[in-house]
């Protein structure tokens, strides 16, 4: 059965059918193969309810906020500002991109929203300064998966609730792996920047320049302060903060700078809406596939297969991670956690892996999957914001994916990376 699914998936994908429809049509074939046409009614039902979901609500707002910030010039000012401090380094702006993702990770709990928000800011800014677009997009996509690993994180709340693991403990455990991914990406970026001779900012860090750039960026700097302060101060939830970001960007554009016309604004909304249309097809179809796998109880079969293969902890962990990487290539992170967590975690925990450790491992793995081809939320969002083709982006992305897999391997096989902070804070005894 899974073989039949995989084959039809690849054939449909290779002839150039939109990827969302590839997934949807494969699932329809699966339903027909099972001979239960009642299941077909779940096609529209699951597609609808995948979109009728709270967790998806922040994404359009962050996307829109980023687009408006670009249009009214907030982005350029913000980038000029940070460029003054970091731009003297080779690949400085790329480093700023990564650092911003780490900071943004402390605000938002969703990676695709991060790609949308920062992609629509950094990709134009970086290309303007002379970086090539595939690299700029790849850096954005690769660093956006840090968001749900550094707390707060919607997927960790989900995981903690299904798996009965301390959510605060997961938050604590995610900090070091999240920072490690950030640092690893910065090292890779540094290496590539030197090798490819990426641009630096000629501007000197004089008091005069600092004052000028700070003044120019004052409204732009207010954005993260309002968002971060609003969330950490308990004024707004992260989703509301995304809407506030839109409101603030609109206010700056329409009242402070007065440099955006209503017609331009209309087009900004429209472009973002069409982007959401692209994402809608992908996410809603992926959720029907998840339903199909669940009703066929395929994950259970796989888990049984693992048990039959080995009872060595390291081997099982390797198998589980390879399996998650494979699953992550096709399925979205939410359904994957929901369906696979309760099936895979007991395997590992029985062999002595700490539940908190396994949770982080699973979250990191499935987060990286957000950028692995052929299907991944961040990958697609990156393509949509940059207008790049799948092949072009993947070619630029693979060194980043490899580096992140290396960090994943460390997280899997060196428990101290995950467990030290929660142990300090008393979540593990």
């Amino acid at each position: 059965m899974p073989v039949f699914i995989l084959i039809s998936f690849f054939i449909l994908a290779l002839i150039g059918l939109p990827v969302g429809i590839v997934v949807g049509l494969t699932t329809v074939l699966g339903f027909l193969y099972l001979g239960n046409d009642m299941f077909l009614s779940m096609l529209s039902q699951r597609m609808f309810s995948a979109m009728d979901s709270f967790t998806f609500l922040a994404l359009p707002f962050f996307l829109l906020a980023g687009e408006i910030m670009n249009k009214v010039g907030l982005t350029t000012r913000l980038v000029d500002f940070s460029n003054l401090f970091f731009g003297r380094l080779k690949g400085g702006l790329a480093q700023v991109n990564i650092v911003t993702s780490i900071i943004f990770g402390g605000i938002s709990g969703a990676a695709v929203a991060d790609t949308a928000a920062l992609g629509s800011i950094f990709i134009p800014a970086m290309t303007k300064q002379g970086y090539d677009k595939p690299f700029s997009t790849a850096v954005t996509v690769a660093s956006s998966i840090i968001a749900p690993i550094i707390p707060p994180s919607i997927i960790m709340v989900l995981y903690g609730a299904i798996m009965e693991v301390s959510i605060a403990g997961l938050f604590a455990a995610g900090i070091v792996p999240g920072l490690m991914i950030g640092v690893a990406l910065m090292i890779l970026t540094r290496y590539m920047a030197v090798k490819r001779n990426y641009p630096t900012n000629p501007e000197k860090m004089t008091v005069k320049n600092i004052t000028r750039r700070t003044k120019g960026a004052i409204w732009a700097l207010l954005m993260p302060i309002v968002i971060l302060g609003g969330i950490l101060g308990g004024l707004v939830t992260p989703t509301e903060a995304a809407a506030v970001a839109v409101g603030l960007a609109l206010f700056v554009g329409l009242v402070v700078y007065r440099n955006i016309s209503f017609k331009e604004l209309y087009n900004v909304f429209l472009r973002s809406a069409v982007t959401i249309g692209v994402i809608t097809l992908l996410l809603s179809c992926a959720s029907v596939l998840a339903w199909f796998l669940a009703i066929e109880q395929i994950p259970e079969l796989v888990a049984k297969g693992f048990m039959a293969l080995s009872d060595n902890r390291y081997v099982i962990l390797l198998l589980i991670n390879l399996f998650l990487i494979l699953v992550g290539m096709f399925m979205d992170i939410g359904p994957s956690l929901l369906i696979l967590g309760p099936i895979l975690a007991p395997l590992a925990i029985n062999l002595g892996v700490h539940p908190l450790h396994f949770g982080i491992m699973m979250c990191v793995n499935l987060n990286i999957a957000l950028m692995t081809p052929p299907m991944g939320g961040c990958l697609f969002m990156g393509m949509v914001v940059s207008d790049l083709k799948l092949g072009t982006l993947v070619k630029a992305l693979w060194p980043f994916i490899l580096v992140e897999f290396a960090v994943l391997a460390l997280v899997v096989y060196v428990p101290a990376i995950t467990m030290t902070v929660p142990r300090w804070l008393g979540f593990v005894h």
Binding site: G16, S44, F48, D52, P60, T280, L390
Partner: protein, 174 residues
């Protein structure tokens, strides 16, 4: 772009497609603006009026559903849906052309099934909204509407393609 095409059919398909795209686009923008306002209202009424509405999050979600499914058809017309473009580059021209029509047929098949199931889902709907006195029919119908608009844009696109192919072959024959 082909409004002055002599065959007429192409022009008609193009104009109708563009009109539907514009109308769908306007609807998406309305949903998006309303969604933003509703979400901001939620925060405003909580802090300023100390009396938040219970329905803001739910309404924002429904507007998102409408926007997302409607926009699928716009993305199709603009060719923005994500796909793997190996076949059309590697395959010989006649094969590529055949695959292109095959892809259209498969999209039509999927959207047709989705449209049909969406209509059934709307007809069989028994839910009302959670915090509002509103039947969910008005929300779930976004799925068949989105699928229907996509089918329509697909059909108009195919009409243009066939017309163009026929013109080319006609030119060759002469």
């Amino acid at each position: 772009m082909q409004t002055d095409n002599p065959s007429g059919i192409t022009g008609f398909a193009e104009n109708l497609g563009r009109f539907i795209e514009m109308a769908a686009g306007a609807w998406c923008v309305i949903c998006f603006v309303a969604m933003t306002l509703v979400a901001l209202m939620g925060v405003f009424f909580r802090y300023v009026m100390q009396n938040p509405f219970m329905w803001t999050e739910e309404v924002a979600r429904y507007l998102l559903v409408w926007m997302g499914f409607t926009a699928i058809s716009i993305a199709l017309r603009q060719g923005r849906h994500i796909k793997i473009e190996i076949a059309e580059k590697v395959a010989p021209k006649p094969v590529a052309k055949f695959l292109n029509y095959l892809v259209d047929a498969l999209i039509a098949l999927f959207m047709g099934v989705l449209f049909y199931q969406g209509v059934l889902m709307t007809a069989n709907n028994m839910l009302s909204a959670s915090t509002l006195p509103l039947s969910m029919e008005w929300i779930v119908v976004a799925v068949p509407v989105g699928a229907g608009l996509t089918l329509l844009q697909l059909f108009l696109g195919v009409v243009k393609k066939i017309a163009a192919d026929l013109t080319k072959e006609g030119a060759k024959a002469e």
